[in-house]
Subunit: 584 residues, 2 copies
């Protein structure tokens, strides 16, 4: 940053915005968060959300090492691309005058000034080396991105270019070190009172991070004796990031090893995908905590805690850290990890996790070449009816999950056919940004309620059908809901009914001449459908939309609840939510 | 035929049938006809139909030259195949005893005895060397063929085999000279009184028939002066077959050369498909008379005649004879042709021909690989309304027409949405057997009546779509109706509407990834649809069934009647005919 830019902008722009600002609001509305924008950690993004006025203040803090620039753009786009992004641009013209403008990029990344200017209350702070501005969630300008809950792709770019005008400045012409994006949840929940309790730090220890673009590092830990001797509750968890490594650590998960109490686990430490990773460590797969870049501490509701330890549980947990090292640096040393706060003074309720969405099976598939293809999993009234306690459960957290092609996920909530507010919704979902999210509003779910989870997939890059399954190239559609009190119901998921699927394959063989084998698996048969014309893709979409379903309505011991869960009709929906008022 | 067989059958079987027979009925019910069964002309089939008792008497007359046999089968099948045929079998067992049985062949051509025996009143006449038996039109036995109006494929086979039992006798094991089939209309109309009038013989003259399996021989004639000077009426036409050539001459047509009165035609005589056939002779294409094997004389109703000659008409006609010479004999000499009876004493009404069915265009197509695919052409109330005289017309004859893949044709008749008896129907139609058929019942058609002509096609042997058009490998669907009084309306045909067809091709391009060109002709685009899966074939069938139509409602001068004939809805049908009572 050139001094001139800072000074000039100060003098010309600081005085001209006198409207209502975040700073005029009482602190309790504010949620403050930060995330590193660049892999070198030279650009720190801080933001403060004021839900009462539906507005965010952004602050970009530049480290002393950050290179100079004539212009800097920060903004948003659907999936992190600079093309078609919506940005706020700070720039110095060829005469040395500074400007701050609301711009939007076209499909080539070229900037144009918005008719309506919505990058507000801009100022520079030369002492803290920061650029500050504000932005409403929804500016009601069709050229602006709407900031919603869930994943937001924050894009940035900078350059050293003498400019006559900002019009036509091309963001995509910058070198890779001069632009980038991060995924964050901007709508972080308002800060909650931190709980007290015993800290349990589960971190790597001066790990020499591999010289590789992407590393998933797995490390098994034995819980301390005091934890394994008495049942504990986790009341909060948060990240512990080695200072300076904020751009390196992408996300982390803490898994419980779901095995008999006395089964010993090897203290494996290494690449999660290494061939020498002991098979038995695959059992360390029940998520206890999950953190992703920008996520604040996860604080359990005061009346509930997540069970950990005790004599009935296995004594091991596993930390998985996803490192992002695009510059292939050899000198990263990291001791990051997760800190859980635990207490032996058990809270009133056990918290637990329930799976909504689609069964992990090859009965569902996504055609190749789809821009937005939906799959929907159903947790139907018959299952919540037998599985939930009479007074219901309270859902306070949600972790959405798909594999590589998922781009949006949401769960709708119905009671007696009438839709209630959406449970969780992420219209810019990415498999690379999976955190357990505290809901802004805990949701009560009663027996007979209906939870409908939809995932949207983009398979434009795929040549064959993408099939439901466990491999990273297969797909899933899951919402892991975090709730209390813990119940017997652990899985409330569906798939298309067996009969409907059989009939579909019969149809594809007999009417569409596909080389279907009635003895073959659904996976084989889906792969035999080729090419995926729009007509075939649409037929599959209709199959999934119209057909009866099979239900997995399972207890935590893996057994299904009693009853016939095959060939059930889809629940009737009588009233859907009105379209949201945009206040425009 | 062995003498013993004749005698034995006489003695054992003649006495055992005492039921009601054709011979007990008065002569006026009877229609008598004959046709040659084999190319050598050694087997003559005669038949007498008694419509009052719905029964036919068959007589097979063996010439002296006919080879001997131990068994002889005569029967019927869908399209002339021995497999799945229904036959009456005369056979001599290894002890020399004769038997006569009602049998049916399986899908391999093997015979099995019907549970119900319906080959009745069998007898042999050794003097006239003939085998005689009777058969009801509909025996109500599922193993028996139902004899209806239209084309009947009469099959025969014979053999010299010592037999213990008739069961398992294999018809298809015979050599090609020991089996065959002919197409005849068994339901010949009752004999009509012959008209008097001047005979005009238009025949070949000692033609040396080419040594070729199939020959279409064309010969142009100039009409005699007395015919060209005064308008005449054709009152009857019939075949004149050179004696001994009954198996050689397959069918004949007499065409009028539709040109200016004084345009001279070259007196071409030669193969119809020869390269040196003068182009101008293509104008000799308006059918005046048509005869096919087994057809009786065609007698016009007493009040009408077909115009021929006169100063307003061209002076030339063309005879086309289709010769069948499967044994490639070089010694055939033929002088067959058509005899028309004409009179200058004009009858009250001019007879005329009108075209029903589908336009000759590539807007319609039949998918490849279809067993029975329908195309339907519509002569709608709007067109009969403007085209027919207030008191209507009387249809007395009909010539059905498709090219190679047509297997059934019919025309339904509706008045005010209520179906009247079918106009003409041939469920075993063959392009190789096109005669002008006198209707058993003349049909009155009024203005606002609706005539719906459907053709069924079998394209199992085709690899691409078969398109509407003039080439023999293209298809047509036409019913040339013969009627009086002559009106201005000459063509009452339809095709799918242009807009519906455009939308279909758009759909196939955008949803089904076919390489359709919006600038391309329908023919090119139909050929781009590939492969013809059942789904695609069904989509096309639905397009034709559901879409609006374009109408060709044309006068004889080629101009359309005034009005908008594009994008019309299909006429509403309120009441269809009840399913025919089979008297079973």
């Amino acid at each position: 940053m050139r001094a001139k830019c800072v000074v000039a902008v100060f003098s010309t722009l600081l005085s001209c915005h006198l409207s209502f600002s975040i700073y005029e609001n009482p602190k309790q509305h504010l949620a403050e968060s930060e995330a590193v924008l660049d892999p070198k950690g030279e650009l720190l993004l801080k933001w403060r959300v004021d839900y009462s006025i539906r507005r965010i203040q952004f602050e970009i803090v530049l480290s002393r090492k950050a290179p100079e620039f004539d212009w800097f753009a920060l903004g948003f786009s659907d999936r992190g691309e600079l093309k078609n992004s919506d940005v706020c641009l700070l720039w110095t013209d060829y005469k040395g005058r500074d400007h701050f403008e609301d711009m939007h990029a076209d499909a080539h990344g070229k900037l144009f000034r918005d008719r309506q200017q919505d990058c507000e209350r801009f100022h520079l702070n030369s002492q803290s080396r920061s650029i500050v501005f504000e932005r409403s969630f929804d500016t009601c300008d069709k050229d602006d991105y709407v900031i919603e809950d869930g994943t937001v792709h924050v894009v940035w770019a900078r350059g050293l270019d003498k400019l006559y005008s900002s019009k036509g400045l091309c963001l995509t012409a910058t070198s890779s070190s001069d632009h980038g994006f991060i995924r964050v949840r901007l709508w972080t929940p308002p800060n909650q009172p931190k709980t007290t309790g015993q800290e349990l730090k589960i971190t790597n220890n001066n790990l020499k991070v591999p010289e590789s673009d992407t590393t998933y590092w797995c490390k098994i830990f034995k819980l301390p004796d005091f934890v394994t001797e008495r049942p504990h509750h986790i009341t909060q968890f948060e990240s512990s990031i080695t200072k300076g490594n904020e751009g390196l650590v992408h996300h982390m998960e803490l898994f419980y090893c779901d095995a008999e109490p006395n089964l010993e686990m090897p203290l494996y430490e290494g690449n999660c995908f290494a061939n020498d990773r002991p098979e038995i460590t695959r059992r360390c797969s029940k998520v206890k905590s999950a953190w992703a870049m920008g996520a604040p501490p996860f604080v359990y509701p005061g009346e509930a805690g997540l069970p950990l330890g005790g004599p009935q549980a296995n004594k091991y947990v596993m930390l998985e850290v996803h490192y992002n090292n695009p510059e292939l640096r050899k000198d990263w040393v990291d001791s990051s990890g997760i800190v859980v706060y635990i207490t032996a003074d058990l809270r009133r309720y056990n918290a637990a996790v329930m799976e909504l969405g689609l069964e992990y099976t090859d009965k569902m598939a996504i055609p190749a070449g789809q821009n937005t293809f939906p799959l929907t999993g159903h947790c139907i009234p018959q299952c919540t009816g037998v599985g939930l306690p009479p007074r219901g459960i309270v859902i306070f957290g949600s972790q959405l999950h798909t594999h590589l092609t998922g781009v949006a996920v949401w769960t709708r909530h119905f009671r007696q056919g009438i839709e209630l507010p959406v449970l969780n919704k992420d219209m810019h979902y990415s498999t690379h940004f999976q955190e357990i999210r505290i809901l802004h509003r805990p949701v009560k779910v009663l027996p007979d309620d209906y939870l409908q989870t939809t995932c949207i997939y983009n398979t434009l890059e795929r040549e064959n059908a993408t099939i439901g399954g466990h491999a990273i190239t297969d797909e899933m559609c899951v919402n892991y809901i975090h709730y209390y009190p813990a119940t017997d119901l652990e899985v409330c998921k569906s798939a298309v009914s067996n009969l409907a699927l059989e009939n579909y394959f019969k149809f594809e063989k007999q009417w569409d001449n596909m080389t279907i084998s009635y003895e073959g698996s659904p996976r084989e048969n889906y792969l035999a459908v080729n090419p995926w014309t729009p007509l075939r893709a649409n037929a599959l979409k209709e199959l999934y939309t119209e057909s009866p379903i099979s239900m997995q309505c399972n207890k935590s011991d893996g057994n299904r609840f009693q009853g016939d869960w095959e060939g059930l009709p889809l629940p009737r929906i009588k009233v859907t939510l009105p379209i949201k008022n945009r206040h425009c």
